[in-house]
Structure formats: structure tokens, C-alpha cells
Subunit: 326 residues, 2 copies
């Protein structure tokens, strides 16, 4: 075979063809070789007839990347498929690591393209309601490549800071205590009745969705194909839908037809937004409150409080035009 | 018009038609009415000819949801379009809030469907390399609906816990100091040369990508259409690509052809994974180290250390079959 080879890292989304992007379909269609974990190969079976197929087991990520590079060096177009998004705990990282190791650069004859897709957190969220309407994190509970203290520190930090959290790789046949430890860390900061949704095989034939709460999470049926979504302190479940409010109730009176609350303006920062908060901070400090007291009251580090107090802010900022946003 | 109405919350991805899912295209095709922010309406102009179009400004999310419900109650099929994913800071949340307020339940004649798509973090990551190969967070710097101390606490927590972070709504004409404060909070925990990528209008006509570092981040050209990606402590930029290693180097000797490191096994948890770490912890405690000393050494809360020490772990766990994972 002649001509330059290409490696396309293709995120196929949750697994049903209709939730795949056009570019993902096209990338698979134009490939000579398709490489992937056996389960993912099955999900795109209809699209790969007549192509060379290289099936790999779950732990052979680096092998998959090496095989892709070999085929591309031989002039072939290779689709390296990941479920969800190729960049989210997917093949994009290991592939670049292998390519760099082999001396590849972007000037190389072998081209690389990453085709983004909806990750598990996007598709699971769509199935359970609207849990990701506010700040969120993804944490993998797999300790096959990550030391447990690193994972535990992350769980602790985001539980404390009230993020919505998606747990990837929550449990396997061998790894059963990680989810128990995650629950333990979360319960230090969050209410026991915090809503939790567990989505197994979302948008696939065996899709299964369970709603539970933080204190019962570890007893639920969770496996390798599950994603666990833990709400923040405002997340609620109503009529079987998990919803995290965006914060409209901070600005608008939702009961009263959406009138703006006193002191708030549509299209402007909240009165407790950055500039309003800096004003409050300066007033409190001027009234004699110490930096340490302010740090405790606002639950932020003292040296951060001190630094913001020291930097004057320009009142003119507030006069600039707002393009508008939520 | 007769028949039951439907509201479809459609995530159109980054904006180019080829990165939209088939279901997103189909949902728009089968709709009678398309509602969205003017910019998003322009992005799908080719797909909506002949349909009723309701253009809304950026701050009118609740209005968009109310209009959608009115049209659906009149028996129309409505596509409420969001850029990226409809569930990630998108219209899914506000829509359910408005529907619940109006007494809607899933048994209502008006059906609701959420169509997931690639969010800004997925598409920006694909354009800059492979930054999301390990745990990550999304934080919106907009204080229009969220008090600044909430945002600041989240920035502080994830900077400390070494997440890769995607900043949404980093800056606007009026909101210019939020990114400076975010930088200040990050620099308390992260190296000044931490890689940062700023992606503006990814996959759109005016796409612009800038690589910078944490200490220069606030001086970069950032606007309403930018997403800011901040790496973790292992993220590097090589040949113009931002990559976060998955952790293979913890288990394999990447220089030596990928041989497994001493004490590590392919397909098994790291020696510093949960069970190995618990063993270490118990040995250190048995040797006389206090809970407080262990907490400081492992940088985890003392009460968490105490609780894990108190719970015995079953050696039999290690004998279960591993399906394999990364």
C-alpha cells in the first residue's frame, strides 16, 4: 500500500449509531483498519464490514496504539475506536504517549485526528434528567494506574466543594471496596440523602438506570459498564428525573412568575458575584473584621482573602458592555 | 394543530454539522419550531429552512423554556437547541425547572427528550491534544447566577487536588476580573508553568487556539466564546500538543519497551492502589505511627485514616476475577 497513513481516534459515543457524530461515521468508513476493545468493535459491527479488524482486550491500550502506528506507517488509514469520547479516559492520551515515544511529530507522514464524541457523563446525564447544569467533575475509581491517595484526595476535595461528580470505572469484579471508600469520603461532607443515579449500558440494549442516595450507593448493583452520578447539595429528584438547578432562584422569584429579586438585575452579576463580594469584603474589613475572621466566614483561605483585599478593583469595569450569558 | 407536542433539547456539538450526532440532526428535522440563542440558530441555518424560528438573546433561558412549553402544548414539536451538550450548562436544567413549575410530569401529553452531544470540553480537548485523559472538572466563572465564594471554593479545591480543569464562561466584556482571581487561586497550588490552552470558537470558522502557562493565562486573549483548559501537574505540551499522561509510567517502564515495573502486574491494581495502600497504612500504624502522623504523610483527613484502619478488608477480594480495565 502506498500513500501516507493516518490514525483517527474515534469517539463513538454511548454505542448506538444514532448518537454517533457524522465525522465518527465517516472516519470509520474511510479507514482500512479498525482497532478497539472487543465490546466497542461489536457496537460498530454494521459499519466495518470488509475492513481489517484488530480486537484487543481491555488492558491492552498501549498495544492498540502500537498496532495503530504500525499500520499507519504501512500507509493504512486506521480508526482506533473508543466508547464515549476518545479524549476522556480514552485512547487519545495513550496514543500520543506511544507516538512521542516512537519519535513521531506532527510533521510526520502519519497524520493524527481526534474525533470527539459524547462521553459517558454526557449520555448518562441526558438519560437521567439534567444533573450537569452546574459545575461537575469526572473521577475514575480505577487504581490500576493511579495511586489510591491521589484518588481519595480528589474525592475529598470535590465532595467538600459541592461539585456534581461522575464516577467512571466505579467497580469491577476485583475492585469492590473503592466505591465504599468513595461513599465514606463523600459522607464526610454531603447529606446522606444526596441523590445518586447509576446508569449501566446507557443507550445500549441492556440499559439500566437506578436512582438511589449517597448512603445506599455502595449497596447498589454497580459494574464495569456503570457510571455513577452524585448530585450537589441542590440537586433533586422529581418525577424520576435528577435535576441540578442552575441558580435562577438566586436571581429570580420562580414562584412569582420570574420577577427579579430585590437588588438583582437580569443580565448582570449577582449582588454576591465577584464585584459585590469584594465590596462586602472591603466593608467588613474596614469595619474591623480581621482577615482570619473573614477567611472563616467566607470559607476561603486567609492568604487569598488578604491578596484580594490588597488589589484595588476598577469601578469602571462595571460600565463595560455585557454581551450577556447565564 | 392536533396530536401531542414534544420538546427536544438538542445539543448540536461545537457547531460544525459534521460533529453533530445523527439524532441531533433528526430531532431538528422532525421539529416544527426551533428555539435558541441567535448564534446557535445561525450554526444550524442549513437544517432549519421552512421551520418556525424563535430567536432569543443569551440571558433569556427561562423565556426559551416557556416558549418551548407553549408551542408543545399547542401540539408542536419543538427543538430547543444548545451548543455543545444540552445538559452541560445548557437548556436541559432550566427547561425542567420551568416544566416542573408549570405542573408538568413525565405522564403529561408533552414529551421531553434530551439529545446529548459533545460539550465544549470534549471538542476543545480534541483540538489541543489529549488533556482529559485523567480526572477533570468543569467550572463556570460566570457569577450571574452563582455567588463568587462558591466559585472560588471550587477553584481552590480542584487546584489543590490536581484536576485538569475546563473553565467555561471565563470572561466577558463586563466580567474581566474573574479569570484573574481564578489564576490567583490556582497559583497557590500549581506551578507557574502549568500548561494552559485557550480555545476560541472550536471547529467554527474563527477557530483560534493559544497555548500559554498559568502565570500568563490572565493576559491572554479570552472572550465569551473561549474555553480555558488548565492541565494537572503531569500535563505537558510537546510539538504543540497538550497531553495529560494516563499513568502508564506508574506501572510500565516506557523507556524499556513497556516492561512491567518491579512489584506491579498488568491488569491489576497498582501496588499503591487501594488494597496495597491499606496494607501500608496498617503496617505503618502497627509500627507505632499515629493517625495524625499518617494523615499528614498521606495528605488525607485524620478521621478518614482512622475509619479505614478500623474497617478490616477481605483478602478474598483479591482472588475475584478481573474483567480488566485501564
Amino acid at each position: 500500500m502506498s500513500g501516507a497513513g493516518k490514525i483517527m481516534l474515534v469517539g463513538i459515543g454511548p454505542g448506538s449509531v444514532e448518537h454517533m457524530t457524522q465525522r465518527a461515521r465517516d472516519a470509520i468508513a474511510e479507514s482500512d483498519v479498525v482497532i478497539g476493545y472487543v465490546t466497542y468493535i461489536k457496537l460498530v459491527a454494521d459499519l466495518i464490514e470488509g475492513k481489517e479488524i484488530i480486537r484487543k482486550s481491555m488492558t491492552e491500550e498501549l498495544d492498540r496504539a502500537v498496532s495503530a502506528l504500525e499500520a499507519a506507517r504501512a500507509g493504512k488509514k486506521v480508526a482506533l475506536i473508543s466508547s464515549g469520547d476518545a479524549g476522556v479516559y480514552g485512547m487519545a492520551g495513550p496514543t500520543y504517549e506511544v507516538l512521542f515515544q516512537a519519535g513521531w511529530t506532527p510533521e510526520d507522514a502519519v497524520q493524527v485526528e481526534i474525533v470527539p464524541g459524547a462521553s459517558a457523563l454526557n449520555s448518562c446525564a441526558a438519560l437521567v434528567g439534567a444533573p450537569l447544569t452546574h459545575d461537575f467533575c469526572a473521577i475514575s475509581l480505577s487504581d490500576l494506574l493511579t495511586p489510591w491517595p491521589t484518588i481519595a484526595r480528589r474525592l475529598d476535595a470535590v465532595a467538600m466543594a459541592d461539585f456534581v461528580v461522575a464516577l467512571y470505572n466505579p467497580k469491577s469484579g476485583r475492585r469492590t471496596r473503592q466505591i465504599v471508600e468513595a461513599q465514606r469520603l463523600f459522607l464526610r461532607h454531603r447529606r446522606p440523602d444526596t441523590p445518586v443515579a447509576i446508569v449501566k449500558s446507557g443507550y445500549r440494549r441492556r440499559q439500566n438506570i437506578v436512582f438511589t442516595t449517597l448512603d445506599s450507593m455502595a449497596d447498589a448493583d454497580i459494574g464495569m459498564l456503570s457510571t455513577v452520578l452524585i448530585g450537589n447539595s441542590n440537586t433533586f429528584v422529581r418525577h424520576g428525573l435528577m435535576v441540578t438547578p442552575r441558580g435562577y432562584a438566586n436571581k429570580y422569584d420562580m414562584e412569582e412568575g420570574g420577577a427579579t429579586r430585590e437588588g438583582e438585575k437580569a443580565g448582570r452579576s449577582l449582588s454576591t458575584g465577584l464585584l459585590g463580594w469584594l465590596e462586602t469584603l472591603q466593608a467588613e474589613h474596614a469595619a474591623g473584621d480581621s482577615v482570619e475572621l473573614l477567611a472563616e466566614r467566607h470559607r476561603l483561605p486567609a492568604d487569598y482573602i488578604r491578596a484580594t483585599l490588597e488589589e484595588p478593583w476598577e469601578a469602571t469595569e462595571a460600565a463595560a458592555t455585557e454581551e450577556g450569558e447565564a
